[in-house]
């Protein structure tokens, strides 16, 4: 039976049913949408039909196995011809079930996956799983038990040539090597450990809770359920004990491990547990790739962050900027070395403006005691006395998405140093204390925090900063209404300055 001859479906006019499908296919006009809305209020049969069509659409989203190749190349004309045939409707469509299993190999896909990224905490529900053939496994090691991770974020990734097809966002990753030339990718391990790899890097997926870092940098955030997540380097194993940590392997096989939260255990490959060293938050270890000698160091969060150069109003990040993409960020003193910084496209950016500066004048501030503030243009008095040594950070929220939609970020920033003041008034940030400003930041004409604006109220948000009693944690709730640039082509957004106390013994700069 050919449906072109259907006049009625489920007691509804066929034209109305086709309209519902145009809605499903996002191919409906405004007037048609308005008509559908009006009809659905009165017509329960139509509503039931829409619900059923939505259900079918959802099942097809999961279960219609996607094809691998785009409509280009030698096969294109044949493919186009076949689809044309379907559109022309010249063939009989099955009105009843038939036997046989055409192209059964196409349907060898894994069970649908809901992936809970507890690390962030964000939850990502991925699209329908790919066929085995579509999984990317460069230099496959072992088919084993199937996919061990899913690619959940790709940021300007460039893959080494000759290593197979570039994996798409959402791709299932088998055991095997991934060689990233530039950019960064995030992978959710099947164990729910979240791994960020910063190019250039050579990583081998070894198992659902284990990978091997041959060279490059990676950071892992490991929720409780994935405890025991292990990173092998050429000489050592790094075992998570509930934490967030970074590992770097240099070309000469030197290993660096920094711990930002919780603990990790580091020990030589194949060695007994008794030879392990345990690192805690804020600690790091440097391991010589040749001698195996270990030396303790301070954790280096800036070594593992994805930061920014372009479009931020930071003409070159020296010292580097920190990009905090989500819920929580850890801000410490950055290293001296400047690393290549990929493009910024969202999140909070933290720029260390000045370090260990001895103030010659007192500074007025917006927030100096634990509590909240959402009125930013009124500074209350003096808070940092002259003579105190401080570091200052500029925090900027200026998402670079192409969307004009309201963008909001909520989370907390934890600073190693005690927060003595937050400065949020426009003039005080952009033109205040010269000693705290960085020559690499474009300050003029930046949009300032916007309390109680119409859009903030409408969106249920209100720029708000809250200083915790511990004086190391600053909670932020920020929103910006749209993407704009200033006359210097710098992205504008919400800005404020956080001033932390330095050790009195720190050398002044």
């Amino acid at each position: 039976m050919n449906d072109r001859n259907d006049h009625h479906v489920d007691g509804l006019d066929a034209e109305l049913c086709a309209l519902v499908d145009r809605l499903i296919d996002q191919a409906i006009g405004d007037a048609e949408m308005a008509r559908l809305n009006a009809l659905m209020v009165e017509n329960a049969t139509l509503r039931a039909y829409v619900a059923e069509r939505a259900e079918l659409h959802a099942m097809l989203t999961w279960d219609a196995v996607p094809v691998a190749q785009p409509l280009t190349g030698d096969e294109a004309s044949a493919v186009v011809g076949r689809i044309e045939q379907a559109i022309a409707g010249s063939d009989e469509l099955p009105s009843r079930a038939r036997g046989g299993r055409a192209h059964s190999s196409l349907f060898r896909y894994a069970a649908a996956a809901v992936l809970l990224i507890v690390a962030g905490i964000a939850v990502v529900a991925l699209r329908a799983p790919r066929t085995t053939d579509e999984r990317v496994a460069v230099e496959k090691v072992d088919d084993g038990d199937g996919a061990v991770a899913t690619l959940t974020h790709v940021k300007e990734a460039e893959w080494e040539p000759g290593t197979g097809d570039a994996p798409d966002l959402g791709a299932s990753l088998d055991r095997g090597r991934l060689r990233l030339r530039a950019g960064s990718v995030e992978m959710l391990m099947r164990s729910t450990a979240m791994v960020t790899v910063l190019g250039p890097a050579d990583v081998e997926m070894v198992g659902p809770n284990r990978c091997r870092l041959r060279s490059g940098r990676m950071m892992a955030t490991v929720p409780q359920r994935a405890h025991g997540f292990t990173v092998e380097t050429p000489t050592h194993t790094v075992v998570d004990l509930g934490t967030r940590f970074g590992v770097e392997v240099s070309g000469s096989r030197d290993t660096h491990v920094s711990v930002f939260e919780g603990r990790v255990e580091v020990r030589p490959l194949g060695a007994a547990e008794s030879s392990a060293v345990t690192l805690r938050a804020g600690e790091a270890v440097e391991i010589d790739g040749t001698s195996g000698g270990r030396s303790s160091a301070a954790a280096e969060p800036f070594r593992f962050v994805v930061a920014a150069r372009s479009g931020l109003g930071v003409d070159h990040a020296d010292p580097p900027a920190l990009l905090i993409d989500g819920v929580a960020g850890h801000v410490a003193e950055p290293p001296d070395a400047v690393r290549p910084l990929p493009r910024y496209d969202g999140g909070l950016v933290v720029v260390l403006e000045s370090q260990d500066v001895a103030l010659s004048d007192p500074i007025p501030a917006t927030l100096s005691e634990p509590g909240s503030v959402s009125q930013f243009e009124q500074t209350h008095g003096v808070l940092v006395d002259a003579g105190v040594k401080v570091s200052s950070y500029l925090v900027r929220f200026a998402p670079q998405s192409n969307s004009d939609a309201y963008q909001r970020i909520q989370g907390e920033l934890r600073f190693d140093g005690e927060i003595v003041a937050v400065v949020a008034a426009t003039d005080a940030v952009n033109r205040g204390t010269a000693k705290l400003r960085s020559p690499h930041v474009v300050y003029a004409d930046t949009l300032q925090l916007e309390p109680d604006t119409d859009v903030a109220v409408r969106e249920g948000s209100n720029d708000r900063l809250t200083l915790d009693a511990d004086r190391h944690t600053l909670r932020v709730d920020l929103g910006v209404s749209r993407r704009r640039f200033n006359k210097d082509k710098a992205l504008i957004g919400d800005n404020f300055r956080v001033i932390t106390r330095s050790s009195p013994d720190a050398p002044s700069r």
Partner: protein, 174 residues
């Protein structure tokens, strides 16, 4: 049951419910990208709420409740979006769904029916539902109107619907 077991169970149950939950959300919010975002928000909320066996046992009802709330939140934030149902229609759709008896799992039947499609028809569906696929991209690639492509998909969906019903009826009778 230990907390770890409960978490594992929760992940398994929620994984199983994803297509149905997405379908429910899409029936209230027929905007593909928005529905996807709402699904993620719903999953997150459920993850935070579901710590006990009782919540997991009642996951379907709880998921609908949370999803409806997330849909309304999205609609409130996106008042000017035109690809949306009115608040009244959303309310009616949610009430209809609550009153509807639980449906049989049709996915296994759908997979069989997809296999039964002629190759070119199956390819049309696969292209439409491939990552990045849409009626618009298909129409552009084929030099056809979106209406023509959508009409073809309409016919295929009708065929799949009848096929699914036939299989479920046959299995019910067996």
């Amino acid at each position: 049951m230990s907390k770890q077991d409960r978490q594992d169970n929760f992940v398994r149950v929620l994984t199983d419910r994803q297509p149905a939950l997405y379908g429910y959300i899409f029936s209230l919010l027929p905007n593909r990208d928005a529905a996807w975002d709402v699904l993620q928000e719903t999953n997150l909320s459920l993850w935070k709420k579901c710590d006990g066996e009782e919540e997991i046992h009642n996951l379907d009802a709880l998921a609908h409740e949370v999803a409806r709330y997330e849909v309304m939140t999205w609609l409130t934030k996106n008042r000017r979006d035109k690809l949306r149902f009115s608040d009244e229609v959303v309310r009616l759709m949610a009430e209809d769904a609550a009153a509807r008896p639980a449906r049989a799992d049709k996915r296994a039947a759908l997979r069989e029916c997809l296999r039964d499609l002629p190759e070119h028809t199956r390819e049309l569906v696969q292209r439409r539902y491939a990552p990045g696929g849409s009626v618009q991209t298909l129409a552009d690639a084929l030099g056809r109107s979106t209406a023509a492509v959508s009409q073809a998909l309409y016919r295929v969906r009708n065929a799949l619907k009848r096929c699914i019903e036939h299989r479920l009826t046959r299995e019910g009778a067996a």
